[in-house]
């Protein structure tokens, strides 16, 4: 969209209501500054989401083909959806989308290897995650017999826990 005053690229978009009339304003940073509408460039209020978003776009923006279409068999997340929303769907996504995630992680953290506190290995976690996926799918297709069977499989450990 072009600036309404000088036709450069507009990056400030305002909607205001004056006496019930809706008015839209699209300005480039220069004209917005002149109109006293520019966002203050300080204090730099660091919205983390925006930073992440720009990193994601910068690093996986070019992705085409296989990775873009890849889907996690457990949570059903597509890598394209992560690119749009910035959130992963389940722990397994870190392996499923490793090729796309590791460059991003390297860029953000300057590292790809954990140092520090370690959790004990989770017993059968992957299997249980998969059972839950099957359970969701069974419920979705109203196969309650299968759902009950899957629930039983999931149950014993929860009681122990």
């Amino acid at each position: 969209m072009r600036c309404q005053r000088c036709h450069k690229e507009a990056s400030i978009h305002l909607t205001e209501r004056v006496k019930g009339q809706r008015r839209e304003l699209h300005l480039c940073p220069g004209c917005a500054q002149k109109a006293g509408l520019a966002l203050p460039d300080s204090p730099p209020d660091l919205a983390l989401d925006a930073v992440v978003q720009s990193l994601i776009v910068a690093h996986v923006g070019e992705l085409v083909g296989e990775l873009a279409e890849r889907t996690c068999p457990d949570c059903g997340l597509k890598f394209m959806e992560f690119r749009a929303g910035g959130r992963l769907g389940c722990p397994r996504d870190y392996r499923v989308f490793a090729a796309g995630l590791l460059p991003l992680i390297q860029r953000f953290h300057g590292a790809t290897r954990h140092v520090g506190k370690a959790a004990r290995p989770a017993d059968r976690a992957e299997e249980r995650l998969r059972l839950r996926t099957q359970l969701r799918e069974a419920i979705a297709r109203e196969d309650y017999e299968e759902a009950a069977r899957l629930r039983d499989q999931l149950r014993p450990e929860e009681i122990q826990a």
Partner: protein, 354 residues
């Protein structure tokens, strides 16, 4: 513990005690944790969220942790806003949907959010500059929970989180600083830029995206992977004393070069807070900030830091409405706020009206 009990007390982190508490309001660490065998919150079904909540509550009981669980899903919007104001839950948790809650300790040092962006967001806060102590406490708490719950963890990437910006240690180490000297001497931007260069984030009193208010700023790490928790804490414990020194120098400059002006500003601020009949939240924050600095510089001697710290939180909209016991419009809140301030500030050290 009920929500109404909370209106009668205030968190330990507001006491104004601990090292450097003239500038450091509190030290806070949070850990992001997820259960290994569930999808992350944003992909979890309603019944899975209910199960996550149940698993967590069972873990609390088994670990004999003395925490009260508040079912945020069952709360009205005013009560949820009240918890946000108290720094017990995030805006995201307050405004999201579905089964979710928070477990808190009686002094409000501990707050564990359930079904936020991650299944668990474990938070520990102490007043003053005490990050190593906070780490020791939260690390122990995390161990107790981990004995009961299987966390999502990989040996390469550490604790697995819904957003890759938290992966690894899942730790956010932060301090909340009161920096009126740097604001008034217009050096604050310079300090922010220096902090951002070393990869630290600066945010306002109410977190991400919120405008800094009352001259309070939170400084925290952004990197969570590739360094251990003590290494990440050390970045803060190395840098914060430098910021404190800048703030002290700025206050000293104000005292020596503009003493009369400063004394006048502080006294007027105190006077308005003690006598106003209607006052907005923004003006209150601004004036309380002056008064807080005035106490620390010895310009006001009949008011405690703890009272001022509390008033930053207790003049927020939801608190006033909880106190009044009814919803109030904007104008009514301003009147209620002024009346509450007059009560708390009359004769200097009036205790809370309960």
């Amino acid at each position: 513990m009920t929500l109404d009990d909370l209106t009668k007390s205030s968190g330990e982190w507001l006491r104004g005690t601990g090292p450097e508490s003239d500038i450091v309001m509190c030290s806070r660490i949070r850990l992001a944790r997820n259960l290994a065998d569930f999808p992350f919150t944003n992909r979890a079904s309603r019944s899975e969220k209910t199960e996550i909540e149940a698993n967590f509550r069972a873990a609390l009981a088994h670990a004999h942790l003395e925490l009260s669980y508040l079912d945020v899903h069952g709360l009205g919007s005013l009560d949820r806003q009240f918890l946000v104001e108290r720094q017990i839950v995030s805006r995201e948790l307050a405004n999201s949907d579905g089964p979710r809650g928070v477990a808190i300790s009686s002094q409000e040092n501990v707050a564990i959010m359930v079904n936020e962006e991650d299944h668990l967001r474990v938070q520990y806060m102490l007043s003053g500059f005490r990050l190593p102590e906070v780490w020791e406490s939260i690390n122990h708490l995390d161990d107790q929970l981990e004995e009961q719950l299987a966390y999502a963890f990989s040996s390469e990437l550490g604790y697995l989180t819904a957003c890759p910006t938290n992966v690894g240690t899942g730790i956010r180490v932060g301090v909340m600083l009161h920096l009126p000297g740097l604001v008034q001497t217009k050096q604050i931007d310079k300090v922010f830029r220096a902090l951002q260069k070393i990869n630290l984030a600066v945010r306002g009193l109410y977190g991400e995206g919120s405008q800094a208010s009352g001259d309070f700023y939170q400084i925290s790490n952004q990197q969570t992977l590739g360094k251990s928790e003590p290494e990440l804490i050390k970045i803060l414990t190395d840098v914060v004393p430098q910021v404190l020194q800048y703030e002290r120098n700025a206050r000293q400059t104000l005292l020596t070069e503009r003493r009369q002006h400063l004394h006048d500003q502080v006294s007027r601020a105190y006077g308005v807070l003690k006598t106003a009949q209607t006052i907005s939240s923004e003006e209150t924050m601004l004036l309380l900030s002056s008064v807080r600095m005035g106490i620390n510089l010895g310009l006001i001697d009949d008011l405690s830091i703890a009272t001022v710290n509390e008033l930053f939180i207790q003049t927020q909209p939801a608190f006033l409405q909880k106190l009044r016991g009814s919803e109030l419009g904007f104008e009514e809140r301003n009147v209620e706020r002024a009346s509450y301030l007059r009560r708390r500030l009359s004769n200097g050290r009036q205790p809370p009206p309960h």
